[in-house]
Symmetry: C2
Subunit: 223 residues, 2 copies
C-alpha cells in the first residue's frame, strides 16, 4: 500500500469508528441489544436468525438488518417469520459500514429489544468495521473445515461469540468441533463458544437463552 492509500483507509476507518460509537450510544439509550453476525457466505446466518425468531417470539421483540451485495432474498425470509427486516444491498461492496446501519436506525420501532445485523457473507473484510454492535458473533460451519480460525484470524480475534453451525453434518465430514473451538480460543481466549444445528434445532435454546441474558445485562448497564 502507498502512503496515500493508507491515509485514505485510516480516514475511512476513523469516520466509521465515530459513527459506530454514536450508534452504540443510541441503541443503549433505547435498551436495544445489537448483535453483528459475521461469516463466510453460506455458513448459515439466515437459518440461524430464522431459528432464533422462533425461539425469542413471545419473550422479546427482534428486528434484523440484512447486508447483501445483491438481492432482497434474506430480508424476505426473515419477514416471513413475522420479524421486521431491512435489507441493505451494498451493490458490490464487501462489508457493511456503520453509516449504512445509521440510515436504518430511525426506522426501528421503539418496542424492539434485539437488533441482529447479518453482515455480507465474507470472513475477511467485515471484521474491520465496527457497526455499533454490543456483541459480535462469528459463525463457522462444519463443511468449511476446522482449520479456518488461524487462516482468517481477525474475525475470530474481534468476536465475542463463536457459533459452530451445521453440526448435524459432522458425521459426513472431516470436521472436529473440538479442534475448531481450540484453534479459535488460541487466537481469542475470551470467545464464548456455542455448537448448533439451526436446521435441526440442536443447541438453539441455549443460544437464545444466552442472548436473552445478554439483553438483561445490556439494559442493566444502561441504568
Amino acid at each position: 500500500m502507498t502512503k496515500k492509500n493508507i491515509l485514505v483507509l485510516q480516514d475511512l476507518l476513523g469516520t466509521n469508528k465515530q459513527i459506530a460509537a454514536e450508534i452504540r450510544r443510541e441503541l443503549r439509550r433505547r435498551g436495544i441489544l445489537c448483535v453483528n453476525l459475521l461469516s463466510s457466505p453460506g455458513s448459515g446466518k439466515t437459518v440461524l436468525l430464522e431459528a432464533l425468531a422462533d425461539r425469542l417470539r413471545g419473550r422479546n421483540l427482534m428486528a434484523v438488518i440484512e447486508g447483501d451485495i445483491e438481492t432482497e432474498r434474506d430480508a424476505e425470509r426473515i419477514r416471513a417469520k413475522g420479524v421486521p427486516a431491512w435489507q441493505i444491498t451494498t451493490g458490490g461492496a464487501c462489508h457493511l459500514e456503520a453509516k449504512m446501519v445509521g440510515r436504518v436506525l430511525l426506522s426501528i420501532p421503539a418496542e424492539i429489544n434485539f437488533l441482529f445485523i447479518e453482515n455480507v457473507g465474507n470472513l475477511v473484510c467485515p471484521a474491520g468495521f465496527d457497526l455499533g454492535e454490543s456483541l459480535r458473533c462469528v459463525l463457522l460451519s462444519s463443511p468449511e473445515g476446522d482449520d479456518k480460525p488461524k487462516k482468517y484470524p481477525q474475525a475470530f480475534l474481534t468476536a465475542d461469540v463463536l457459533i459452530l453451525t451445521k453440526l448435524d453434518l459432522v458425521p459426513y465430514l472431516p470436521f472436529d468441533p473440538d479442534k475448531a473451538a481450540a484453534e479459535a480460543l488460541a487466537i481469542n481466549p475470551w470467545l464464548k463458544v456455542f455448537r448448533v444445528s439451526a436446521l435441526k434445532g440442536e443447541g438453539m435454546e441455549e443460544l437464545a437463552a444466552f442472548f436473552a441474558e445478554a439483553l438483561v445485562r445490556e439494559q442493566a448497564g444502561r441504568a
Copy 2:
C-alpha cells in the same frame, strides 16, 4: 465513496490490470496454462487441487500458488502431493493482486504446464482482480446453498468455469445442483459447469480432462 477514494481505487486497478497483462503474456510465452480459483473459505479449493494433482500426475506438471491471509498450511498440503507450491500470505488483505503473483513468477521451473492459483477464500473481493490467468474458476460447495450466485454475482459473472463441489453432501442438505447451475448461468451463460466431489473422486476425471484440453488449446494459441 468519496471522489478521492474512487481515484485511488481506479489507480490500483489500472496498475493491477497492466501487471496482469504482462504476467499473461509471459505465461503464454512459456506455454503455461494459468488457472485462478475463487470461492468462499472452505468451499474445497485445496482438496480439489490435491485431487487434480493425483489425476494430472504423469501427464502434465503442475505448480500451485496458494493465497492466504495467514499460515502456510495449504502450500504444505500441496507439497505433500509432490507438487511445487508457493505460499503468498497477504497479512490481512482480502484478495491476491497481480504484483504478488508476479514476484513468484521467476521461481517457476521451465517444465511446468499448469499454474493453479488458489485465491484467498472470499467470494467477493478477489473477483475484481485479474491475476493474469487464462481461466478463472469459481467454486460453489453444496453446503453454501443454491441461492449464492445472484447474491454474489461478480465472481460468477467474471468466471469461465463453475465447479459445484462437495456434491456427496447433497443427500443431507437443502441444495439443488440444477438450481445453482441455472442461477449461475442466468448471470453468465458462457460458464462451463462441472459437478464434483473431490473427496470421493466423483467428476474429477472429467475436470482433469478439461484442463488438459484447455492446455492444448492454450499452447496451440501460442504457435
